[in-house]
Symmetry: D2
Subunit: 329 residues, 4 copies
Amino acid sequence: MKAAVIESVGRAVVTEVPDPTPGPRDVVVEVAACGLCGTDLHILQGEFAPKLPIVPGHEFAGEVVGVGSQVTEVALGDQVAVDPSLYCYECRYCRTGHNNLCERWAAIGVTTAGGAAQYAVAPVANCVKLPEHVRTQDAALVEPLSCAVRGYDVLRSRLGAHVLIYGSGTMGLMMLELAKRTGAASVDMVDLNPARLETARKLGVSASAATPDELDRPQGWDLVIDATGNAAAIQDGLGRVAKAGTFLQFGVADYATRVEIDPYRIYNQEITITGSMAVLHSYERAAELFANGVLDPDVFISDRLPLEQYPQALEQFAAGVGRKIVVVP
Amino acid sequence: MKAAVIESVGRAVVTEVPDPTPGPRDVVVEVAACGLCGTDLHILQGEFAPKLPIVPGHEFAGEVVGVGSQVTEVALGDQVAVDPSLYCYECRYCRTGHNNLCERWAAIGVTTAGGAAQYAVAPVANCVKLPEHVRTQDAALVEPLSCAVRGYDVLRSRLGAHVLIYGSGTMGLMMLELAKRTGAASVDMVDLNPARLETARKLGVSASAATPDELDRPQGWDLVIDATGNAAAIQDGLGRVAKAGTFLQFGVADYATRVEIDPYRIYNQEITITGSMAVLHSYERAAELFANGVLDPDVFISDRLPLEQYPQALEQFAAGVGRKIVVVP
Amino acid sequence: MKAAVIESVGRAVVTEVPDPTPGPRDVVVEVAACGLCGTDLHILQGEFAPKLPIVPGHEFAGEVVGVGSQVTEVALGDQVAVDPSLYCYECRYCRTGHNNLCERWAAIGVTTAGGAAQYAVAPVANCVKLPEHVRTQDAALVEPLSCAVRGYDVLRSRLGAHVLIYGSGTMGLMMLELAKRTGAASVDMVDLNPARLETARKLGVSASAATPDELDRPQGWDLVIDATGNAAAIQDGLGRVAKAGTFLQFGVADYATRVEIDPYRIYNQEITITGSMAVLHSYERAAELFANGVLDPDVFISDRLPLEQYPQALEQFAAGVGRKIVVVP
Amino acid sequence: MKAAVIESVGRAVVTEVPDPTPGPRDVVVEVAACGLCGTDLHILQGEFAPKLPIVPGHEFAGEVVGVGSQVTEVALGDQVAVDPSLYCYECRYCRTGHNNLCERWAAIGVTTAGGAAQYAVAPVANCVKLPEHVRTQDAALVEPLSCAVRGYDVLRSRLGAHVLIYGSGTMGLMMLELAKRTGAASVDMVDLNPARLETARKLGVSASAATPDELDRPQGWDLVIDATGNAAAIQDGLGRVAKAGTFLQFGVADYATRVEIDPYRIYNQEITITGSMAVLHSYERAAELFANGVLDPDVFISDRLPLEQYPQALEQFAAGVGRKIVVVP
Ligand SMILES: NC(=O)c1ccc[n+]([C@@H]2O[C@H](COP(=O)([O-])OP(=O)(O)OC[C@H]3O[C@@H](n4cnc5c(N)ncnc54)[C@H](OP(=O)(O)O)[C@@H]3O)[C@@H](O)[C@H]2O)c1
Ligand SMILES: NC(=O)c1ccc[n+]([C@@H]2O[C@H](COP(=O)([O-])OP(=O)(O)OC[C@H]3O[C@@H](n4cnc5c(N)ncnc54)[C@H](OP(=O)(O)O)[C@@H]3O)[C@@H](O)[C@H]2O)c1
Ligand SMILES: NC(=O)c1ccc[n+]([C@@H]2O[C@H](COP(=O)([O-])OP(=O)(O)OC[C@H]3O[C@@H](n4cnc5c(N)ncnc54)[C@H](OP(=O)(O)O)[C@@H]3O)[C@@H](O)[C@H]2O)c1
Ligand SMILES: NC(=O)c1ccc[n+]([C@@H]2O[C@H](COP(=O)([O-])OP(=O)(O)OC[C@H]3O[C@@H](n4cnc5c(N)ncnc54)[C@H](OP(=O)(O)O)[C@@H]3O)[C@@H](O)[C@H]2O)c1
Ligand SMILES: [Zn+2]
Ligand SMILES: [Zn+2]
Ligand SMILES: [Zn+2]
Ligand SMILES: [Zn+2]
């Protein structure tokens, strides 16, 4: 089959590789589309993946075209979205329900061959059936959505919160859509790039600007979410949290990034700073929310490129052009 | 001024009463509209209100036309919605943050003169300013909405829940609107009265029926909400909760109502049954959500009668005809 | 090896069975002691276990005497307590972190050969190493303790609660010990059997009686825990919950038991009723708490019988004589 | 009566002032003892108190010797501990249950005359009756304990946590006592001052050292609590939090203190940083826990000086000698 392959650091190609064969509890999925994200760039830079070459791609959905000998839950022809997470279920974090912090964390598209290919293999437990009305290509969005759902699980926000989101990329916009669905009284968004904020306005943001200084909320926001990973945004955002409010570190900062906090204020205003990492108990719920129309795929997917152009897709993503880019085998 | 008065058990009239005078931290509100609810019927039956006669009405909004000597927070001409709750701040429940369970619970329209009148008086702290775009009459809906918000505060539901609501009256429909805004993956509704379900469908319910038997969800619902107070509905609903799910007793049952639970199932499926009572820390948030359009007043308010017809309004409400009925002075 | 075997409904024997052989990620444990509980009686009555004969016993600890080919986490000679739970990690409940509600729930001693034997086999992930100062026999108490820990995880109680526990058997007494360690301001206990309450008094209960009527707390208790499974106790306990309080169904009632609740009170006093089922993310923590002396084994283990007397041990347990009975191979 | 008075910045005296007279819902308390804390030093430095002179003292208990005309809850001769907090009940924080963040925060001993005097006046709602077995002098400890209880309310910790506390002063030691009562599996403590750690060891700390480097816990601690306010301690502590763990800013840092956080780690390990400020819904519970012996007053109160020596007591406190110092009128 045809597949994208990260062959070595800095080198991505599309080439022929052997078709995957399923284990007894595995499913072979004919990929309809596979999304790209920051993790793929990290792999290209020689991080995250324990060894190269690897077929990347952990955001994908497709049709079941093969099943292992002990699979009964899905059948040939089913449309499925695939949770890429592979937990050990044995380490201290798995044993206490924090599987996303698994000591032996593994994932389809990172530690095993992924979805940037014609076919991909996945444990049946990771395959979530999609209702017929969902366009399978679009369901590549379920994985990033399931990260956003985890973010709101951490926040446990109540009805009526005032929310400020930094970064109007794919993830910031998903946080926006979910803010509305977790009862926000208002959702404001900041991004340095005015073009990005257009989409936010299209999706019904309450207010948007290049900086919160332009927004009229001196008492701050109950929830401030970083969806940039950018040090300046994080530093600014920490200062915008209202009394008794919460800052969510959702963006992935560089390892070396450091920002300052003010311990007196943390104490005196009972401010909380917390983080959310990948997917935890949230994939199926994201799939259901997606099937129920929580996202408009035509807004979220800005580019659909043929699998052959995987290297170019990666370049475009690295250049920060567009929103979610998917490759279509 | 003109006011509705519950004179004695079973007897409501509209008559002239002295204009109210504000204390130093009080506000006089010219009532734009005042809603009716079950509490008013209880008062008519000689319950809840410690003494008669009383001017009823605890769901109201209007314009500030007088302020006490020490009021600075609102000014003449401001439009305000009024939280009727009057807590003692001294009892063990107030001192632990459960003001809605206050041992000396009191409320405008129950223990002191209410909003079914041309003017009403309220502590300034209970007056929430409304933005200009809100039609003040409609803001009579803020109080019931703030009860619904309390319900979801108790539930603390996560994104992706499947919700079943019993009762498609004013409160059930508010629970529906908030279910969508607390991230429900689906919201189903049952009501014995098919006419009532039409509104539910208009508001975008996922499925509706006379009984959950007609709905296809053998594994049950994550959240089941009673918004009827009816014994049969409660009994049925308790059996519809999914494993690890929650039943919310929001409807006000008769004192004598008893329903059965199955302790083995509570244990074995880790089912939770809980309740939500009136307003707690939720009035301002309800006002903001209302101002942001969480409810369509023209759907929720079915009848706007002149204050003179308060007795007839009460009769119509008792007969269960329509949704929210408001009187307009 | 020698093992207790439930051969058929109502028939338990001690006999010779083949020694167990570990799979690649399994461990063979030489059992130091194995506790008996209600589950074993259910198995004897033909319930819970999918097929007979079965070697029972899910509360055990012992020494590692064999390891599978891929085991590195424990070594021969290690003392371990064994979590009997075997989850599928694939069903909707496992995938959302409710493994104790697993649709394919399985357990050592219920669906596979258990610890009432000279040797037992367990996945290495289920084996928790014990520090040297722990007497391995005593660590048969870790499993029931891990159920009690799950109970308090469900309760999430705050410092200063007033707690009432029904049933002064092994589990009620564990709930007592943990009430003290979850910040209870007071812990009262009721049991019909005055002899049982002596142990409660020895462990420092605040007050104890045959019925809460004898205890002076008209406002009720913040937390009421049923640790009897008895219908009369549950019914009585539901009425003892204070405003804003919680009732925990910890005892395992008969399937047919039904008790009555008062929906007006659930609503008006914001009462919560909830349940806790077996072990969830709590086994390791129970082992640590146990190692740190949270329980006095000599109080909790009333009888240590030789494995040969397993049938008699079961009879004594069924007769309700003593507290935790363990068999020692 | 005799009272300590902060007359002007830097100047504390003991002098005669008029006896206090109670309002209708107030109580006059003959002070048994009044504790000193950092707030008193801030007042001396011209901070916190809106105007000088002021009678300081917000940690006190005593006997009821006078009651206002409308007081029925306490009687002459009752022993009471006094919650110093005076909330407005009107601001946005009070109205949402965050009274400790009140915009018009006021307190006995800060904004009105306090307990470093022969008599003090307090609203009856702030007076908590003590059982007879409590030595009233010792109950000056209830106020700081109620801050510690608030800290654990914020933490909502589960059974089995590993806890690390920085600072073995009065507050750190209270956090230690409460860690044990909130189910900690272990509680370690660090302090630069070896003499301070002796008390920690006396109270049963699991391990203690000058720095966590000496403690063997490479995976970090589930809960890390700063009870120093010291920048170096906070900075060190933030790096000691285990995956999925929480850091509590309990110590009051200088306004200018800044420490660094690592956003990648917050995200990747789902770390939470939060704060707890003074007393919220926790005073009565602290009083009950205190009455039940949660603290040994003879360990916690290191010095009992006569009221006449208030200025010297303040100096000793500023010098960091001893634990809780109380003055006895
Ligand atoms: N927590 C999780 O589980 C999880 C899951 C997925 C992704 N993530 C992370 O979430 C972040 C967002 O992902 P994405 O795919 O949406 O990325 P993206 O498309 O690159 O969007 C980030 C946006 O933030 C803007 N931005 C950068 N610096 C800013 C600043 N100082 N102030 C305001 N806006 C700023 C960028 O503007 P320009 O276009 O001008 O640069 C861009 O529009 C990334 O860090 C990603 O790694 C986290
Ligand atoms: N918790 C709180 O804070 C709070 C606040 C406000 C109101 N409430 C309570 O909430 C409940 C609903 O209030 P509402 O104003 O919406 O009342 P409502 O307009 O009377 O609506 C109740 C609806 O439930 C339906 N119903 C009755 N029995 C039923 C059954 N067995 N199965 C299905 N549907 C059934 C009724 O149908 P019919 O028209 O055929 O009777 C009606 O449509 C009341 O009990 C009210 O007291 C509680
Ligand atoms: N939720 C879980 O995960 C879990 C885990 C383990 C066990 N359990 C359940 O927890 C319950 C207790 O277990 P156990 O081992 O402690 O049982 P146990 O030793 O039989 O203790 C139960 C105690 O309750 C007393 N009792 C019975 N009816 C009572 C009543 N109406 N009022 C007051 N006391 C009454 C019994 O007295 P007599 O001796 O006079 O009968 C006995 O002392 C059982 O139902 C068990 O199945 C639950
Ligand atoms: N959050 C609240 O509601 C609340 C309430 C009351 C108090 N507080 C705050 O809690 C903190 C503790 O109060 P306290 O009365 O216990 O104060 P304390 O008696 O001064 O105790 C603080 C202890 O921390 C030690 N320490 C200082 N720097 C350290 C470092 N880098 N590493 C380790 N230990 C260090 C001190 O040692 P030395 O003796 O050598 O200096 C001292 O033993 C204060 O900041 C206080 O303002 C907060
Ligand atoms: Zn793991
Ligand atoms: Zn009250
Ligand atoms: Zn399962
Ligand atoms: Zn306030």
